[in-house]
Structure formats: C-alpha cells, structure tokens
C-alpha cells in the first residue's frame, strides 16, 4: 500500500520471529511480562481456558499501532490511515491463513466467539430457519453455543436436540444418526475441545454425518484454535467461531470464519457505517465481504494484537503447543491420583487437550480455589459456563486447571501441594 505522506513512519511490524527450537516452556514463559512482574509469591496461572496471558510481542504490536499509526480504517486518505488499514487487513490475512481459510474474505472480525455465534444465529439463522426445523447441539456446549440457539428456537418454534455426553465425558456419537434421521435438522453445532472436560471431539466425522443429512456444521473452536492446528477445510465445517484473548491476544477481538457462499447469501447482522456500499434515505446496498458484517469502527488495535499473537504461536509451532498441553494434562492427571477423594471429570489424557477439571470430596470448588489462591495457584471454580454439562455429570460445580504454552511442570507441583492443604483445612 502506498502512503500519501512522505513522512517515514514504521508500519506496525509483527512478522514472525525466527522459529525457536526445540520448544522450551521456560523460555516461552520469560516472554510474558505478567510472569516477570514482582509479586509477593510466584503466580501459577492455571486458568488459560478462561483467558490466556499475553506475550511481549502482542503488547508491543498494539503499542506500536497506537504510537505510530492510530487512525480510523478504510476511510482516511492520509498516510497513517492507510497504514492503519493495512495493519488491520494484514491481521485478517494472518488469522485467515492460520485456520486455512480459502480467502481472507471468509474471515469476519467480531468481539469474541459469542458474538461470532450470535452473528450466525441472527444473520443466517433468522433467514434460513423456520418453524418445524431442528438444530442439533451437544450436552457439553459452553453457554455461548447454547443460548443463542435457545433464543432462536423460542422465537421460531425450532426444536433443539442434543448429542448426549457419556459418563466418561465423550460425545455419544451412536445417537447422532437418530438425531439427524428425520431430515429436519438444518444445523449441527459442536464444541471442538470442551472447556470443562478437555475432550477433543471428532469434528470431521460429525461434519460428514451432518452434511449427509443436508445440515450445516458450526464449530465452536474457542479452545482449539488457540492450542492446536485447526484447518477449516480439512475438518469440513461451514461456520467456525474463535476468540483472540484465549490465543495470547487481547480481549475484544474474535472471529467468525464461514464458507464464502454462505456469507454472500446471508443478510447483514448489525447495521451502520462501513457495512454499506451506498446509503439512501429509503434504503442501502450492503458492502462486499468481509466488511458487510463489520459495522462501525472495529477493534483495530486488538485486531493487530490478534495478528501478532498468531505470529507468535506460529513461531512456537502449534504442534509443539498442543503436545505441551497434552503432556501437562497427562502429568497433572497422574499427579492428582495421589490426592485422596479427588475425582477427575472427563476422558483419559489421550483424548483431551490441556484442561483438567475435578472435584475434591465434599469441599466446594470455591473453597478449593481459595486455598489454592493462597499458594499462588489460579484455577477456575464453578460451572465454567457449562451448567447443563455439570448437571449431566451430577456435580454442582468443579475446579479446573488449564494450561498454555507458558505453563511449566513446577506449577503442577504447586497445584498438588495446594490440594493437600485444602484437604487439611477442610478436614472434618
């Protein structure tokens, strides 16, 4: 892109660093300022499924954007506006390439996964779903891939069906053909990796069955895109939602990927500036993809940070990140066996990503988390935005440890220490 001004201002530079090899979480960890900050006791952050920490590279990219070329995008004729536009669209290209989208036009920036799913529920759902249709979800969905469909179902008289979860925390796929059999299902919505159980679901097989029944597949990839290689074309999904803040990026930016033909046929979601081509008082023409779905000023700096986070993860190698997650989950499950009364929720380590949820006897997970906090160990306690799943598993709440590329084995030791202490504090 040419710049109108002759002043030399650096375009935000967030190109991948030279690949590091081999993957070393101790080295990675030092690139995250939150772990370098002085504090009374070390921070053992085991809540990456809720949100990830941010490396220097991401913060620097956002800072560079604000410091050197902050301007509104797609409008300004002047130099920094063109630089800002280039940085924003460059981020879109990186995010699109990261999930192997056929084109950056298929990649819509949103606030987060929730907004991406709502975009589909409103723009696609309300133009395509009618009374008597059915939508198949699973019992392990995060509320973000359940509530938008409940709202649509109530509004339109649509039936929601659910793929059951087995006692072992996996999807009971034997039930799927029956759920699809009557030909009324228009959409199958499924979470890729469960935010509670860590279960990695067989998406390609579910997509195959959905398509054979003339239904589309929506993938909630909030916990997968940040942790493992995801290829939308290989998986065969039609819509995919994911978010930046779980992927080492900032909050306030997420993405919807969808097949281009679907996006072309969908009406807009939000109306306003940028999403239109021509406006008259009597009506408007919509802008082309992807901007048709990006009304108003978007989170520009956050998009730049999202792109930088992807560069950072690519420099680590997603295979390495996922192998690290899985190894930590396996080690954690092994270590937790030495804690009496502790019950792990979900499948064996081989079938999960970097998430381990558990209950500790009759001690309320909030109390467990409070004692752990005293040891500097940050875990999530509650239902993790998956109340129906907890009901199915017969527990009101659970505690959850979750990992990312910066998690180190010593943090698992701290977790186990804290759990022993919690048992002591609450011994009756």
């Amino acid at each position: 892109m040419t710049r109108a001004s002759g002043v030399s201002v650096a375009i935000p530079e967030v190109r991948p660093a030279a690949p590091r090899a081999p993957f070393d979480p101790e080295v990675v960890r030092r690139q995250f300022p939150i772990f370098r900050a002085a504090r009374p006791k070390p921070l053992h952050y085991l809540d990456s499924a809720a949100t990830s920490q941010k490396p220097d590279a991401v913060l620097a990219a956002m800072d560079r954007y604000y410091s050197t070329c902050n301007a509104n995008i797609h409008r300004g004729i002047y130099g920094i506006a063109e630089e800002a536009t280039a940085a924003y669209e460059d981020a879109r290209r990186r995010v699109a390439r990261f999930v192997n989208a056929a084109s950056p036009r298929e990649l819509i920036f949103t606030r987060n996964s929730t907004e991406a799913i709502n975009l589909v529920a409103y723009a696609w759902g309300r133009s395509q779903i009618k009374a008597g249709d059915a939508i198949v979800l699973t019992e392990m969905e995060h509320h973000s891939n359940l509530v938008p469909w409940q709202i649509l179902a109530q509004e339109r008289g649509v039936e929601l069906r659910f793929i059951p979860v087995t006692g072992g925390g996996e999807l009971d796929l034997a039930a799927l053909p029956g759920l699809l059999a009557d030909g009324r299902v228009k959409l199958v919505g499924v979470v890729h990796i469960s935010n509670v159980l860590g279960t990695v679901n067989p998406v390609a097989e579910i997509a195959r069955q959905a398509h054979a029944a003339q239904a589309l597949l929506l993938l909630d990839a909030s916990q997968s895109v940040p942790h493992c290689p995801v290829d939308v074309q290989a998986l065969g999904c039609d819509f995919m939602a994911f978010t930046g803040h779980k992927l080492l990026g900032p909050t306030g930016i997420g993405a919807l990927w969808a097949r281009r033909a679907l996006l072309e046929a969908m009406p807009p979601f939000l109306g306003g500036g940028e999403m239109i081509r021509e406006v008259k008082l009597a009506g408007s023409q919509w802008n082309e993809l992807p901007w048709k779905f990006e009304a108003g000023t978007m989170a520009i700096a956050e998009a730049v940070g999202f792109g930088a986070a992807i560069d950072y993860l690519e420099s680590l190698g997603m295979e390495h990140v996922f192998a690290h997650d899985k190894a930590l989950a396996a080690a954690t499950m092994e270590r937790l066996r030495e804690v009496p009364d502790l019950t792990i929720l979900g499948p064996p380590a081989a079938k999960r990503g970097g998430v381990v949820a558990f209950t500790l006897g009759t001690i309320h997970p909030h109390d467990v988390a409070t004692v752990l906090d005293d040891e500097g160990v940050a875990v999530r306690a509650g239902h993790h935005c998956a109340m129906p799943l907890h009901e199915k598993l017969g527990v009101p709440a659970s505690a959850r440890a979750s990992f990312h590329c910066y998690t180190v084995p010593a943090e698992i030791d701290a977790l186990v220490r804290g759990l022993h202490r919690a048992r002591k504090v609450f011994a009756s």
Partner: protein, 132 residues
C-alpha cells in the same frame, strides 16, 4: 485479604462444617430460595413468624464454606428478632459477623443468606438497599 488462613478462620470453618439451624421447617410462614449462579450456591430459608417476630428459622441448600457459614451465623443471629429488625440488617452486619474481608467475588457468597432472608421477609426479589 491476607490469605486463606484469614478467610477460613476457625469460627467460619466451624459454622461451615457444623451449620446451626440447618434443615427445613414444615408449614413455614415465609420461605424463600435464591442462588448465586456464579458458583452454583443455592440457599433456601424457612421462617416461622408469630406477631411479627421470628420464632424459628432454618436454612438448606448447597454452597461454599463462606455462604454456608454466613447462613448459619445469620440464622442464629435473627432468631427471636422482629421482621422490622431483620429489614434493618445491612451487609456490614453480616460482614461483621463473618469477621473477614471479602473480595468482590466471594462477597456474593457471603451475602447470599442476607439477600435470601431479606427477599423472603419483604416478599420481593429485590429488597431496598440491595445495590449498596
């Protein structure tokens, strides 16, 4: 908050492990149930009331030690009091009973019992001063 040693001081643990006034009443004059969706705490409070005075009070439900201890202490505290006196109870009264500092998340656990009791006494979901 200087740590779980303080948060889980002996009296709180004692109330959480052996809650007073735990159970349900038959034919309660007032019964109210509320929950704290964030942590899955559920609390029900039953009252027998005569001449505007609490004759008997019980609570039931599941929750963390803070919410259970607060319910146990509060039920003990208000037995024999008039409904007007209960209406005058504030969050500071409960925090004083607990004797600990609570962060914004655990505050909801600590105040669930008061919220449930007041809503029951007022017969409404929102009681005056709830937002304080």
């Amino acid at each position: 908050m200087s740590g779980s040693e303080d948060l889980f001081r002996e009296e709180i643990l004692e109330h959480a492990k052996h809650p007073r006034r735990h159970g349900t009443l038959s034919d309660p004059d007032i019964t109210f149930e509320d929950s704290n969706p964030l942590c899955g705490d559920r609390l029900r409070i039953d009252l027998h009331v005569k001449d505007g005075r609490i004759r008997d009070i019980c609570f039931s439900g599941v929750g963390c030690s803070i919410s259970q201890a607060a319910a146990s202490m509060l039920c003990e505290e208000v037995e024999g009091k008039t409904l007007e006196e209960v209406k005058r109870l504030t969050r500071d009264d409960v925090l004083e009973m607990l004797g600990i500092e609570l962060g914004p998340v655990r505050l909801k656990c600590g105040l669930l019992a008061l919220k449930t009791l007041k809503a029951g006494v007022y017969g409404i979901h929102q009681w005056p001063g709830e937002d304080e």
